[in-house]
Symmetry: C2
Subunit: 362 residues, 2 copies
């Protein structure tokens, strides 16, 4: 049982038994990857108490064997994955009541279940695998830590290349090239490079705007290593920081520091959020911190648990979460400082090792 995938499948089967299900049809690709290792973009997976069957198409014939090995029985389906599904389910036997993933199946495919799959009873399930994925094992934490290291290496190499007059798109280009050179398989999400007043938009993408002297420059990006994501934000001044720059920055930095040091497994996501939010509120910037404190990261860049005012769930040991307080002033700019933190038995550990002092780029 040293292969973590076998432990995960066993834990899922326990969950199915508790839910009185004979098996589960998985359509969520990240969940399929978590259970089997398969990283392709086309797959259906059936897990029952006795069988694990992965159905994919001919494009992945070589890859699926390399990645999945004997964790699942592999079926290469020449026409439609759904045709393959009905054949496999009929052969498996002993299956009457099957779960499906209500958040990962479009209505059109759900209709296939009630029409072509009408000889089975279908029950919606929510987050059966997502809940398992909240607690990372050592191999997962090691991958996220490598992804964090790739991201900080890239940032370190990017900062000296930034200058007044560069476009945000050009900064993104440098950053993404450094991510690739440091070994990133891809980009965890579209890189955000936002300068000057655009730093006030929490969901800005990179634009052709040119950096002006003494602008804020906010960079929010992530690497991928062995399928696992990192997610980091730093905000710098391209030029000389004013007192106003420093006043806002220091509040965000202290909020980041308090939350990164104070977050614990066993807390609610709401209490974790409050570690940063209460400090920002007291400093008078509460209304300018309009988003939640953070989210889990792993195979997806946004996954459970949530750290937010509305998050009543307990943070489990082994979760890896972002801590990303921010203050945004429309028309002026904004600051966000984001780190990735693993919630260990002995307390939190920061994976994104990069200075948090205010950097002024000459």
């Amino acid at each position: 049982m040293s292969d973590p995938r076998r432990r995960r499948i066993a834990a899922l089967v326990d969950g199915l038994t508790a839910a009185h299900l004979d098996g589960l049809l998985l359509t969520g690709l990240s969940n399929i990857r978590y259970l089997t290792g398969f990283s392709g973009s086309s797959a259906l997976l059936v897990v029952s108490t006795r069988d694990v069957v992965l159905i994919t198409d001919f494009r992945y014939q070589t890859q699926v064997v390399d990645e999945v090995g004997d964790i699942a029985r592999i079926v290469i389906e020449p026409s439609s994955l759904w045709t393959g599904l009905w054949q496999q389910l009929a052969q498996l036997g002993g299956l009457q009541v099957l779960g499906f993933e209500t958040t990962h199946i479009p209505h059109r495919d759900f209709q296939r279940l009630v029409e072509s799959g009408s000889r089975w009873q279908w029950r919606p399930t929510v987050d059966l695998v997502e809940t398992l994925r909240e607690r990372k094992d050592e191999s997962e934490i090691a991958r996220i830590e490598r992804a964090a290291s790739v991201a900080t290496t890239a940032l370190d190499r990017t900062l000296p290349q930034i200058h007044v007059g560069m476009t945000e798109l050009a900064v993104a280009g440098v950053l993404e090239k450094e991510l690739r050179d440091a070994g990133s398989e891809g980009f965890a999400f579209p890189s955000i490079v936002a300068s000057g007043p655009r730093a006030a938009l929490p969901h800005a993408h990179s634009s052709p705007r040119r950096i002006e002297r003494d602008d804020w420059l906010l960079m929010d990006f992530g690497a991928i290593v062995d399928g696992y994501c990192s997610d980091i934000t730093r905000t710098v001044v391209v030029g000389a920081a004013s007192d106003e720059h420093r006043a806002v920055y220091d509040v965000v930095r202290e909020a980041n520091s308090r939350a990164s040091a104070g977050v614990r497994a066993g807390m609610t996501g709401r209490d974790a959020d409050a570690l940063a939010r209460d400090y920002i509120d007291r400093a008078g910037f509460g209304p300018q911190f309009g988003h939640s404190l953070g989210h889990g990261i792993g195979l997806e860049v946004h996954e459970a648990p949530r750290l937010a005012r509305t998050a009543e769930g307990l943070l489990p040991e082994g979760a890896v979460v972002t801590i990303e307080p921010g203050i945004y002033r429309p028309g002026w700019g904004g600051v966000r400082i984001e780190d990735d933190v693993v919630l260990g038995a002995d307390g939190p550990r920061i994976l994104t090792q990069f200075p948090r002092e205010l950097i002024e780029l000459a």
Copy 2:
């Protein structure tokens, strides 16, 4: 009626009337962008014969006004978009039978329709907006053409920087930086850089493999300009091409050329596919061309129409499609040459202007 969005909404309303629907709930973000211009990641749109209402959240408050203007009535919903939806539908009045997008709504949200939305009758619809999107107007073709130009500029600047010993990831880094420097808003899809035997995998991602002398190097990537994608592939030899390299390359090149010159609006997707496939078959490489000839591009990098053996639909005038024949030999490598072609009234026009002769990088 010079704003293309008004024409699109009017065409959709005609479709709703024909389908005996009082209105349509849109959940597909590319469809919402097509109709309104809104590019955010969180939105619901209602289109009826009398009203167009866009519901989004506070993060997009500034952006949505800039992008949508008076095309739709904008509602900023503080809690859940669905809460906002029920309120808006109740206010609109005159709505009894509403369509929803069966391919763009997960089962969990469909359940909201039949539970919280039970005072309306809900009917699944398929591809109502996708069908409109098949025919590009001049403003769309201009954007795809700019995205094609950004991609070819980036490739032109990348080729001289490639050398033996570089990793595929490093080549991807150079290419993506050149895409950014040429003005790409992002990446149409994860760049494929596949060298040596890995060029035989049609869905390879970039890996840490180092390029060896006389390797194939296949690069498949795309730019985004004003939301519109390009998609291009070139395959080069890093070193000197052998006779075997040339023999395979020439077949793919001729297949690309025949299909790019011969494809026409009014053909079926199957007949277009055959323009390349019949030639490759006759050359004896049929079994090694395992995928379809191409697909539409636009706001998404894969959209209607399809050019494939199973595509019976007619290609409409104004469609922009990829032409991407390939030959793949496991263990040896592969060649794909892909262009973007607009189907005009007078015939096809290639948007990706880049040499198709076999390039040997010194």
